[in-house]
């Protein structure tokens, strides 16, 4: 009998839902929440190669060639984050891992001609936190050495760096600002502890 694994799935921070909701009610300047699950795929393909064109067409989104930037589909359902000169993180709607993986694999294999390339489902690898509000940048700046000032970092930018000594992918979603913080699931509790403390410290007395 086939087991519906989606019924067994637990989100890395599901047990902290209420705590985050309460904190966000107290500190609306920087609200923190776990994003609903999404599909995440690690894609590797050689830049400037025919397979890359086919992958972009299969996905309907360009693969950004400028380091540390993101391309999004018009409907916002698909996004591609630059992770390296030949590596991207594809974010897609929850439950689409299999069809998208298959489509990308076909695009890769048809045109690879034996060249290097891969697509791997890493949806369970990282938890996704959303930190948003006028004080969100102040919170991040207490634990991150990358310049997040609007002159250097804005919507559509992403960065792989350390936040409070944990490795993260940080993606600015809009001008509010809202950020997506993608962190290894095993670090999610630790980083949430740190973020909650930082939110309290940065919003105290505001």
């Amino acid at each position: 009998m086939a087991v519906d694994v989606t019924q067994l799935r637990r989100s890395p921070l599901g047990h902290r839902y209420r705590e985050l909701e309460e904190l966000s009610a107290l500190a609306p300047q920087a609200t923190l929440a776990e994003e609903p699950p999404c599909t995440q795929l690690n894609l590797r393909v050689r830049p400037g190669s025919p397979p890359l064109d086919r992958v972009e067409r299969a996905l309907g989104v360009a693969l950004p060639s400028r380091p540390n930037t993101v391309c999004e589909s018009v409907d916002g359902r698909y996004a591609t984050l630059w992770l390296g000169p030949d590596e991207w993180l594809v974010v897609a709607p929850d439950g689409t891992a299999e069809p998208v993986c298959n489509a990308l694999n076909t695009a890769l294999n048809t045109a690879l001609d034996g060249g290097p390339g891969s697509v791997v489902d890493v949806s369970a690898n990282r938890a996704v936190l959303r930190l948003s509000g006028p004080a969100a940048r102040d919170v991040l700046e207490t634990g991150c050495s990358v310049d997040l000032h609007p002159r250097a970092f804005g919507p559509g930018d992403c960065v792989q760096t350390m936040l409070a000594r944990a490795q993260v992918v940080l993606w600015q979603r809009d001008d509010l600002p809202a950020y997506w913080i993608l962190v290894r699931s095993s670090f999610a509790d630790y980083l949430t502890d740190w973020l909650c403390a930082a939110v309290r410290a940065q919003t105290r007395g505001r």
Binding site: P67, L83, G84, P85, V159, Q160, M162
Partner: protein
């Protein structure tokens, strides 16, 4: 703390990087041809200059790519940072 320029990501804190020792050492064409002494030299012996030194770094907390850096071992000043497959810059 060094501020190291990743050729892809730009300047980042040293804590995001790993060190990989002397750059531009190529694997011997035919290791079996080497005497034990020459093999040991390839494996263990490295330059240790006082001044500019071409060395490998990896941006382990960022894009995870290896690249080369020209660093002055006396002053820690970094004068160049370039892709792993590029030649060592001549202007020192």
């Amino acid at each position: 703390m060094l501020l190291i320029e990743c050729p892809w990501c730009g300047g980042r804190d040293e804590t995001e990087f790993g060190y990989g020792g002397q750059a531009h050492l190529s694997y011997p064409d035919d290791p079996h041809e080497l005497s034990d002494e020459r093999w040991a030299e390839y494996l263990f012996m490295r330059d240790n200059p006082r001044g500019p030194f071409a060395e490998r770094w990896v941006h382990s907390a960022g894009c995870r790519r290896w690249f080369n850096v020209l660093r002055d071992t006396a002053t820690n000043e970094i004068t160049a940072s370039y892709p792993i497959d590029a030649r060592e810059p001549v202007a020192r």
